[in-house]
């Protein structure tokens, strides 16, 4: 429809990067674009840690489940949800921080994601490729210690950035009719829509892997939500001061 919508619709994760570094100037511009995203009650609850230290990068790649591109990408950022800063601000005004509210956790988490997605759009517009790294939540305690995160801060995801050294296809998504509903939640057509998508994504995987990957969306969902996922998460968050009430 226009250049921006074309850019958005051409997103695919990049996991192989050239050795060209990402300049400080670009990173700063990307973060400024991220900061411009909407933020709930102007809380600005995101802190980004750019990890340059090679030893830390290697350790993070390992903690994320052996994702080598965390070490090798032109830049690696850890996006943290941060209520520590607003706690400090509150205390600067002689206020007393209300710890552990689920709502504050949600505000902070959403803030991080909105900012990160703006960073991603900016990065891709500047010719970079990106890959979100949810794997840093495999061991969020170790990540927190590695980055000296105080209480009221937790690492939500990482972001690899760099100049792409691959050109994968865009992954098809669920039919629009399944995700966009009108006036109320009606799921009568969803099973049919999922079945259509199942075959579409099966073809996509097959053609992308030369027939090796033979899977579909509902099978992926069984593997994802049909079992416990990162069961340490609740206890970790509570220990950092989140989700207590």
């Amino acid at each position: 429809m226009n250049e921006v919508t074309n850019l958005l619709k051409s997103h695919r994760s990049i996991r192989k990067f050239t050795s060209e570094p990402v300049s400080d100037e670009l990173i700063n511009e990307i973060i400024l674009c991220g900061q411009a995203a909407a933020t709930s009650s102007n809380i600005q609850a995101t802190t980004v840690i750019r990890v340059r230290d090679s030893g830390k990068r290697e350790k993070l790649a390992e903690l994320a489940g052996g994702q080598g591109y965390v070490h090798r990408a032109g830049a690696f950022l850890v996006f943290c949800a941060d209520l520590h800063r607003s706690q400090i601000a509150c205390e600067m005004q002689s206020g007393s921080f209300s710890e552990g509210m689920t709502e504050h956790f949600m505000i902070a988490t959403v803030d991080v994601a909105l900012m990160a997605q703006n960073c991603v759009v900016a990065a891709e517009s500047l010719g970079l490729g990106i890959c979100y790294i949810g794997g840093i939540r495999n061991n969020p305690q170790a990540v927190s210690e590695l980055l000296d995160l105080p209480d009221q801060v937790y690492p939500l995801f990482g972001l690899c950035l760099g100049y792409p050294d691959q050109d994968p296809d865009v992954k098809p998504r669920l039919p629009l009719s399944v995700v966009l509903k009108e006036d109320s939640y009606q799921d009568a057509g969803d099973v049919a829509g999922i079945k259509i998508y199942d075959e579409q994504i099966r073809s996509y995987y097959k053609s992308r892997t030369g027939g090796k990957k033979d899977s579909c969306w509902s099978e992926e969902m069984k593997a994802l939500v049909g079992k416990e996922s990162r069961p340490h998460m609740r206890e970790f968050l509570r220990k950092r001061g989140f989700l207590m009430k």
Copy 2:
């Protein structure tokens, strides 16, 4: 730096819209752009409910704390975190859905925010203005009932879209040095940065309101995190099947 980064950096919330409606074609394009955002393990955990029904819009405006633009904007979308769909898919494969995992809640919540922010960028590139409506979490149970949301689905925020009938200034953000750190979380300079920002935002509010609003960021943070916020949230989410373990 380029047209996209200029677009991102020019964001401001719009709360006053012309009466021009937003076409279905635009809404569909915006949602397609949203769907193209990264999604954790391809879960695509977002459902968007476009509310057209005037009675429902009026009710939502009221539930959001009397925000009339929820009723009057050219379009209003409710962004829901949806694990119900992946539950169905899991069960299509004879899997048994693992209910209430905190990690699944986080994946779904982040998915919604990434998709929404892509929608926002697309909308703004198409000449629309937007405003996120966190106020639908004032009474999420009533919103859920109004939109017939099943269990495993919750309304995260609303989004007003429309053609702007105002032209507010861009709101200044915290200094880059406060939100972007290197290799570890060091907050030694943060209080100084917050103080600079406090004065900057105080001037912004004053000039925008003709001197009426005399407040700063740390005062706002005291009002926000210095007290309980939406204390019903944890219980509501548990009743919908989230955050149980």
